[in-house]
């Protein structure tokens, strides 16, 4: 397993009081299909916890078990040290913001937000006060008497949020909260959503398939695949020190080099691969002769037309593809060994930064702390 180049410090001011504890939860459908496989996790108070994974990885099933819509086949769920595994959803102090929003179409915005409060037999004037406060928070006062279908997607999303926050739940579940919005709106809404959540101070579990959404919103992320957790950690830890090829591949873009450890020293290792030799500036738990994967993110590769100095950490190839994104450009280079390596250049001038074009021969080089050595 790769050791991180520097020790992880818990920089975020999160109280370490556990709110939600999931213990060995398994969900089996129809006797055979394992949707969630022996999953355990804790969510601290005030935290936004992200469940990230592709479709069918079990993240939604896990969320639905937290909400009480599904019963775990095995395992227990605790909220504030109280076992809620068998508590029906309508008795849990947990509210969910649905992916489709599930706003009641026959009720106005005001009535939608008041719906949960009315069920608690709250006095009328108090309901009115709370609903108005929620609508102010979500900037919806103008639309209080509208029906959901008269609102735009972004407004509906805010109604859904206001409704799920109105009861002041101990835990807020967000199921793909921005999935139905277009890209531009998603970016602004992301920050808006985090601001509102932090203002209210509610603990959140966020389910998403969008790694960018998870990275920007969550304080910790669990990467899920086939019903179990691949890795749990802070966004930067997951991105910079993934613990397996699968996580490295799922989060962001990555170039994977397969090779063999030829030098294993406490302060560095050298890995021999087909197209290059990696000099990794830190030790690793493993030994000489071991087959490892070296993961290298495209943005950590620099391109040049001149041959780099030294014998380590560079490779050469021919430009086969240039993908222009506006703010950056991704170059695909084919090596002599037949692998395609992606390198990403920031377009910091208005002409393409390194003047490479299709068919050009180019060199790629990178620093000795740029790569991740993976044994899984």
């Amino acid at each position: 397993m790769a050791t991180a180049p520097k020790p992880q410090t818990d920089s975020k001011a999160i109280t370490k009081e556990v709110l939600l504890r999931v213990e060995g939860v398994t969900k089996i459908y129809d006797g055979t299909v394992k949707a969630v496989d022996n999953v355990s996790l804790t969510v601290n108070k005030g935290e936004i916890f992200g469940l990230l994974g592709g479709s069918g990885c079990g993240k939604s099933t896990l969320l639905r078990m937290m909400a009480g819509f599904e019963k775990p086949t095995k395992g227990k769920i605790f909220l504030d040290n109280q076992d809620i595994t068998d508590l029906p959803s309508y008795q849990r102090p947990i509210n969910m913001m649905f992916q489709s929003y599930a706003l009641f179409p026959h009720l106005s915005v005001w009535e939608n937000v008041a719906f949960g409060l009315k069920r608690d037999n709250m006095p009328k004037d108090e309901i009115a006060k709370r609903v108005d406060a929620m609508l102010t928070l979500a900037q919806l006062n103008k639309y209080a008497q509208r029906k959901p279908h008269q609102l735009s997607g972004g407004q509906q999303q805010r109604v859904a949020l206001a409704r799920s926050l109105a009861k002041r739940p101990k835990l807020l579940l967000l199921d793909e909260p921005l999935g139905a919005l277009d890209k531009k709106l998603r970016e602004t809404t992301q920050l808006e959503l985090v601001n509102i959540i932090e203002e209210v101070g509610v603990t959140c579990v966020l389910v998403t398939h969008d790694q960018e959404e998870a990275m920007t919103m969550a304080s910790r992320i669990a990467v899920m695949s086939e019903g179990y957790f691949l890795q749990i950690g802070e966004p930067d830890v997951i991105y910079e020190t993934p613990n397996s090829r699968q996580v490295a591949d799922f989060i962001g873009n990555v170039n994977m080099f397969e090779g063999e450890v030829i030098v294993d020293e406490p302060d560095h290792i050298i890995v021999k691969c087909d197209e290059c030799t990696h000099y990794v500036g830190h030790g690793f738990t493993g030994n000489k002769g071991m087959a490892v994967g070296v993961a290298l993110r495209p943005e950590k590769i620099m391109l040049s037309k001149d041959k780099p100095k030294g014998e380590y950490n560079w490779a050469e190839g021919v430009v086969t593809e240039i993908v222009y994104f506006g703010d950056h450009t991704t170059y695909h280079l084919k090596t002599a060994a037949g692998h395609v390596i992606k390198a990403q250049e920031i377009n910091n001038t208005r002409d393409l930064s390194c003047g490479l074009t299709w068919g050009d021969h180019a060199y790629m080089h990178w620093g000795d702390l740029a790569m991740i050595v993976l044994t899984h």
Binding site: A67, F69, S89, Y90, F98, F104, D120, S164
Partner: protein
């Protein structure tokens, strides 16, 4: 551009067919019925109803039939009785049909077509036969009485035939599918996530049914109720076969006016009043509904 134009005309043609049908077979006959109801004799032609005085046409209308309908207590009573039986039928159909449609919509997907088939199965036999079958079940020496008597549950046969009981049973039995089908169509489309959202916000399943399922199936309830209520008001066959002397229904009066008394203008007037009785309140309801939606 040309193709678009052709397409547009094709649209008009397709839409035009049902409108043409409606005009030919509903609107024109209705106007004829109205004309008959306003003339003294059936054969009176429109030109005879117009008299010319000082070069100006005057329409000579005969409102005597309508005056008679509203002054005769029997007609008024029959109208009220018809609406009463139609309402009772509608309410019972709704009470039986709603849970039926609800569970059908919630049944596993693969059994739903079978359940739907079972609802429609009675239509495969003649309507008349099915009503006659009820007769053999309900009469004094019928199947039900015989079974109950032989089991010594009762000593004397129950009076179930030719009264409001047999009439209501026959009407509910015949019209139930018309209630279930639109309700099923509506309820099977209900997004179950609304119920999850309600539960998530602290609503028990029973409460969620009344707060979410019922209001969201309003369109189905209205459609089903209309499909039962409207034909039930004018029903003739069921009151004729299963009804008795006490079960006044306007359909039977209509029949008598047309075929026993041969008084076509009177019969036409009875029919027009019946249509007005159903359509006018419905139009008002529709308007109010539309206004409510707008607000």
């Amino acid at each position: 551009m040309n193709m678009l134009k052709n397409l547009f005309q094709g649209n008009k043609l397709v839409i035009g067919i049902p409108y043409g049908w409606f005009l030919l077979l509903v609107a024109i006959p209705l106007l004829i019925v109205m004309k008959i109801s306003l003339s003294e004799m059936e054969a009176t032609s429109v030109s005879n109803m117009i008299s010319w005085t000082n070069g100006l046409p005057t329409l000579k209308l005969n409102f005597a039939n309508y005056q008679f309908i509203f002054s005769d207590a029997l007609y008024v009573k029959t109208y009220i009785s018809s609406i009463k039986y139609a309402l009772i039928t509608t309410l019972i159909c709704l009470a039986i049909g709603y849970p039926f449609a609800y569970f059908m919509a919630r049944a596993p997907k693969h059994v739903q077509p079978t359940l739907l088939m079972l609802i429609m199965l009675p239509f495969w036999t003649s309507f008349l036969l099915r009503i006659y079958a009820w007769k053999t079940l309900l009469v004094s020496n019928g199947v039900i009485n015989n079974v109950l008597m032989s089991l010594h549950v009762i000593n004397a046969p129950l009076e179930m035939m030719n009264n409001s009981f047999s009439l209501t049973i026959g009407m509910v039995y015949s019209y139930l599918p018309f209630m279930i089908l639109p309700l099923y169509a509506n309820l099977s489309k209900l997004d179950l996530r609304y119920l999850e959202a309600a539960a998530d916000l602290g609503t028990s399943p029973f409460k969620a049914f009344w707060l979410i399922t019922v209001p969201l199936s309003k369109a189905g309830i209205i459609a089903g109720s209309m499909l039962v209520f409207i034909p039930a008001v004018g029903e003739f066959v069921i009151p004729e076969l299963l009804g008795g002397p006490d079960t006044l229904m306007i359909g039977r009066v209509l029949w008598d006016e047309f075929f026993s008394n041969n008084d076509w203008p009177m019969a036409a007037a009875v029919a027009v009043v019946m249509i007005a009785l159903i359509l006018v309140p419905m139009a008002i309801l529709n308007k109010a509904e539309a206004k409510l939606e707008e607000a």
